[in-house]
Symmetry: D2
Subunit: 270 residues, 4 copies
């Protein structure tokens, strides 16, 4: 019989068709991170069994915009950049599992299918969106990375604007924030093909970078607005208290994660 | 703990965030179907265990373009049509499993994320593409559905054209073709989050319409061209002998499928 | 010297490059028209010399969504439908010039460049937008054209939703509304390439269909919402009093217009 | 009567609606320039009266990809980056007019409407396209600007790939090439609204940067491929002999041009 190749469907005889080649995946990108506190208890509403709210500062949220170039181990996507460039906007919270603190992505929008496919693998709950983010540049009107520099970013999906921010850099920082600073604890859920039979896949996994390099982070202030939409609940993570905003350029390798447990989330496909 | 709602991620407190609400899913659409024979043995290269080539006419292929409006049981997406309209292009072959003939989609491109999410559930190996298809119209230069009417359709992905066709209708037909005429036998595959641990999900499922209504099919001739691309193998299903082409308007309800078997495909995430 | 060919730039040796071939242009499309009255005097603010407010009902506005297939006299674009299909949303008012009543488009968004190029020629002030409109269909959940049928339509630009409507059909109608029912009186304006030198082109033109065929119009009620945005003033044509809403399928030929006068608008490129 | 404001249509009471605010326009961007020689006499076929082929090396062509952030004098578009970021691909040749050498853009594709509007003003014959270009980055797999760095770029329009290149940097260079190094001599053409009445606007203009800053140019080698398409003639500027390829980051201000002459091109809207 046929031996099909590829990391994810479509599998095919030569294995060229897979939406994305298998890991390791390499990334160059710019991160704009806005941290704030939501209402007491707000974040807990997004944390299913067996993950629990973080003990310290449980309602901290990071809204992150990222402008990426990514590739597989062949690096060939970089030279056909429609296959390597994408942007994303996501919301990260912290949670606790077996005494450890994890980060956890509760919303994420991207603008390419290979990014959706990777998210499916890594437990990022990806949708398509339209994301834009000011880029630093050494000449002309675009900002340098320096005190007073201003970066804007916006997110839309289904022809509605969902989020927008303007970040003003103040000074170099020791950190790039604390909310998205842990390994990720994500669920991978897929409903059974048969109705009312629950989940066919229900895994809690841990995922994080295999290697990481980065430039000087900068800290500053952000204006951030989240807008409601019929098919989104991001705006329910209402902004009660701004924390800070960060800008950082990074290089990342991702190369697989770890299964924590399976079949225990109690989430029902409904 | 939080009870999260929704059919697929992102699950959320109110369940509004799911990329797509759960079935039943309702569809109105126009199908342009081009059938041809590939080289002897060609189709078998896409059929992994435990499915086998069809006994009769095993190398028949249908390339299908479809222009859809779809919605959940609330019908609300129809009134916010960015959430209901999408187009797709796909390639279907026939196969055999436990003595029964099935149809099987080996490639499919769509232009919306909710369609990707449904495909993931139903075992359609979806990618994003740009699809266009002539629509019938009662006035002006667009074709009526009648003898001599011509419909064009094109598919591109990653900024490369992958397929194009022009179909000329000849006469009403008793069928809408024979390749996409069976229940679908699809695999649902997802690699383990841990490297080199094989598949976390490996299911063979059966899926098909819960109900179906349709207009008069028309049959005619097609010019069809498939183009090669670095990340596609569609053109390897080379056109050796045209069979026929069809046009039909349909209404479909999809409401779940059936698990045939699990863990047996031998496909490896590589 | 070279003789360049084509209707509009890029002109080229063979004349294939023009963004759009020259007229006649043929259209098949579906129109969703929502008429309302804005505040007294509101429309007049969009009417420069030498056009004046209509005498009768001067603040009537039509917001129109249209789903088109169009082509040149070769009809070839219909078979490569990425070159023929487009959608648009526009706002039309009435005005008066030399004792005659004209319709006039004050805003219009389209989703293809060939439509922008035609608009430039015809004096339609076109921008790019994302437009969606429910289509009638004989099967499945999409509406038939009949009493009680509901059609939604939305407009977004620069990742912000600008307008949305839901129209419910009530009964066949003798008209398709009265605001967009006259020849169009449009300006064609282009600033001088030299700063502060005013306009290089300043024409008032008349334009309308060379031929027209259409189905039965239907009348009904609309919910219509217009949203503000930093780069749009459409929402300033505030809805004070709904008039009616219409649905109609049409076939149109456009084949040139007529120069009314030139150099008199007093508009300054500022 | 109403005084309408704005640089280009739609003019409006507040002047916010104009597709693009008036100049000066500020740009930050990365340029990838590939120079080659076409067949003897090839370039002359694109040069209408009164411009003539350059005396020296008349068939040199530059295909240029550019990744821009641009804004008006308010700089506000930079913070709503969907309104400032765009990409373009264009072909430039040289010509001669009244004894002076000019550069001249014969094809250009962009991905935003504000860029189309600026091109219309400046005589760039713009179409919509999909353009991608590798970006330099200090971390991860994307290239630094250094010897051996490789940058890819692609252009598609109407769902067909029209051009692709991979440039490998070799060493710092004294120039960024010679083809796009002169003031531009462009035509601004618009047909009469009345059929067979020729051009309503027929201007030869000179345009160039009001100010310019830039980083170190790099020179290297390129693979460049141009693909044919039914609506493009770019591939007719066939590559006979590669010259060199360049990479440079620039900051530019544009603030108006100069009318050279009017009504003399002899081009006919056909």
């Amino acid at each position: 019989m046929a031996e099909l190749k590829g990391f994810v469907p479509p599998l095919s005889p030569e294995g060229r068709s897979s939406v994305v080649p298998g890991p390791p995946w390499h990334y160059s990108g710019d991160l704009l991170t806005i941290e704030y506190r939501a209402a007491p208890g707000a974040v807990g509403r997004w944390l299913p069994d067996p993950v629990e709210p973080a003990e310290d500062d449980p309602d901290a949220v990071a809204v992150i915009f990222a402008d990426w170039q990514s590739c597989s181990d062949s690096f060939e996507e970089l030279l056909d950049p429609v296959r390597s460039q994408y942007k994303e906007a996501f919301a990260v919270v912290r949670c606790q599992y077996r005494g450890q603190t994890y980060s956890r992505c509760v919303y994420i929008w991207v603008d390419k299918d290979f990014a959706i496919a990777r998210g499916l693998h890594q437990g990022y709950p990806k949708k398509l969106g339209s994301i834009h983010q000011t880029r630093p540049h050494p000449y002309g009107p675009a900002p340098r990375i320096e005190a007073g520099a201003r970066f804007g970013a916006t997110l839309a999906a289904a022809d509605r604007r969902l989020a927008q921010t303007v970040v003003t850099l103040r000074e170099p920082s020791e950190t790039n924030g604390f909310v998205n600073a842990h390994p990720m604890a994500h669920h991978r859920w897929l409903p059974s093909i048969e109705k009312d039979k629950g989940l066919a896949l229900d895994e809690l996994i841990e995922t994080g970078a295999a290697s990481f390099e980065a430039g000087q982070p900068w800290v500053g202030e952000a204006e951030l607005a989240l807008f409601d939409a019929p098919t989104e609940e991001l705006a329910r993570l209402e902004i009660r208290e701004p924390i800070a905003a960060y800008y950082r350029q990074v290089g990342v390798v991702w190369d697989g994660g770890r299964l924590l447990e399976s079949g225990t989330s109690g989430a029902a496909a409904s």
